[in-house]
Subunit: 336 residues, 2 copies
DNA sequence: CGGGCTTCGAAAAACGTTTCAGGCGCGCCC
DNA sequence: GGGCGCGCCTGAAACGTTTTTCGAAGCCCG
């Protein structure tokens, strides 16, 4: 039986005080006498009163929900972002509205206008395209915006991302430390920013060692199948391979396995992303781990800082450092 | 420069009509003359007016957000549910509030009260525990509830789930059809409802073939590692194995591989879940696919039916049928 | 030509809060 | 003893809609 929920007025009546006193007890307890406050709180409990944030928001102009727009929650990278964002939002008492644009720009747009309608207090976006003009509507409306996994010009808002250059660098540095000198980068399309960056990091690492050389082969898609294919076609074997994605790495290892090549002993392999597959695969992959949950969490926190500090908030571009997870694919059995 | 958004009043002024007319144009266009309507719409466009659903909700009593409470978005099963739910919510114009309880009952509870506060129009819950008493608060408030992946007594609300008994049955039926007669079920803890159900399905399938027999071994955890372990310990080989989870299946295949057993030819293996790993693994796994996105989508749709139909809505328990994805682990190379 | 009906549009109340401007009583100080 | 300040509380307006009630035209038909 859906009972009509108690309103603040009912509480006021029950406690024998005015509506505004109840409101004060709830929002600025210091303004009200301890004894009265207690009476009010008793009434709240007795009536099981829950405030109506919608009505409050109407008055204050603030809602208590923030938007999270991303291309596909079913993709583990994004769902990890969502996880971190949800955690942070929960801790700060905000509701997180999940907007899955499903790789469709018009849907991304639709979500943005929905968030404008809802008067979302701010939005975290993992944008579909590099072109940020779509986001101007938010900006016009004065809704704070944090971009994730993509840079934004500093005057327009905050952004969070993972340092892919550093990721490429530590991957290849590790290969170098483990003695590899003839290193191959198995990369995705260079048009993808992440791929270009990771390659650039790899080059940086190699540059510090005179005797090392770096090659690159580009896979059309970053899938296991293409990894296998590339392994089959390899003419002379490198002694270290850096795959810019774990799928490629997994495929490469399998392909090399088919050729009788021993991973780690003959060819050391480093992947990227620390996807589930990296640890499940025949020889578990050494790989670059990205603090993705942190990304989501930080995005929300920067957003809320902007929301709450308003005036003295300075836009910030926060870049997270990836690290390396050591597994068997770069650890020959002889080693400890 | 955060411009104060246009209100309905501004639109009315601009169009030279009253506030109520604007409202009517927006909500019940049939009530207003086409010419006036057009003028109003022009004004709306000119002022870039977006209605404030919070204010509307205040008046109508309905909000336009629905809650999705689940244990962990980063888990692919749940994130797929979220995907389906987000799709459905978007199509119906509702905002989906993501509530990740992170396996913590008190947090689940916290989210539920938050949803009550927000006057969510309804909630889809994938509950942490089988005990549904926690959900009574929602019920008391008259907030419709749909349970996902867990049954609910029909008078209390709708629920959606996947038929695990059928899943076990088709898995083992397939093994039988492919000639297996000595079948092993590699299962998880029998306390887990899914595991018990899948095993029951397996038994049903075997019962239809007199000459077939079914064994079971229980893994402490449903991980790749335990799968490997079980394969190593196996005394006499079955000719068909049904693993109630793809991780176990992947591990089992690897373990059997180590022993020189040829998958598919000597032992046919079926997994469960169609996780990413199933297709990436050395011999791609035949596995039971669950229509998880559909689950999420259906949950939201049933919820909205209850919300919108109210009186004539009948609670429903919808059970989805899984199907089989055929891959190499049950297809000997000789076969087509 | 007039009456009733239809069609449109307007005015105003209501939704549940917050907040601002006071107001009331009490104690303190002179 | 009176004025003043302070602590505590109240009344009322405002937030942006929807919806109900009602009035004003215009039309058809007799």
């Amino acid at each position: 039986m859906p009972v009509r929920p108690a309103r603040i007025q009912d509480v006021a009546a029950a406690a024998g005080v005015s509506v505004s006193t109840v409101s004060n007890v709830l929002n600025r307890p210091e303004r009200v006498n301890a004894r009265t406050a207690e009476r009010v709180r008793d009434a709240v409990a007795a009536l099981d009163y829950v405030p109506h944030p919608g009505a409050a928001g109407l008055r204050t102009g603030h809602s208590s929900s923030i938007g999270l727009v991303l291309p596909d929650v079913a993709n583990s990278f994004y769902s990890r972002i969502a996880r971190g964002a949800a955690d942070a939002a929960y801790e700060h008492g905000y509701a997180l509205v999940l907007c899955d644009s499903g790789d469709a720009p018009e849907r991304e747009q639709g979500y943005l206008t929905m968030l404008v309608e809802q008067r979302a207090v701010g939005v975290v976006v993992v944008p579909l395209s590099a072109d940020p003009t779509r986001l101007t509507r938010l900006r016009e409306r004065g809704i704070p915006l944090v971009l994730a996994d993509r840079a934004i010009s500093a005057q327009d808002g905050c952004s969070v991302s993972v340092d892919d250059i550093a990721g490429g660098r530590i991957a290849v540095q590790h290969l170098l430390e483990r003695g590899a000198r003839d290193i191959l980068v198995v990369n995705g399309e260079r048009a993808i920013r992440q791929c270009a960056d990771r390659h650039q990091g790899a080059r940086q690492a190699v540059r510090s060692r005179r005797e090392a050389r770096l090659d690159q082969v580009v896979a059309k898609e970053m899938t296991v199948a293409y990894g296998v294919e590339i392994a089959r076609r390899l003419d002379d074997l490198p002694d270290g391979v850096f795959c810019t994605n774990d799928f490629l790495a997994a495929g490469l290892c399998r392909g090399l396995g088919e050729r009788g090549v021993r991973i780690a002993e003959e060819v050391q392999v480093v992947g990227y992303g620390d996807l589930d597959i990296a640890s499940f695969v025949g020889t578990p992959l050494t790989t670059v781990r990205q603090p993705v949950e942190e990304l989501g969490r930080a995005a929300v926190e920067m957003l809320l800082d902007e929301v709450e500090a308003r005036a003295e908030h300075a836009h910030e571009t926060r870049v997270f450092a990836p690290d390396l997870v050591l597994r068997d694919s770069t650890r020959s059995p002889s080693a400890t």
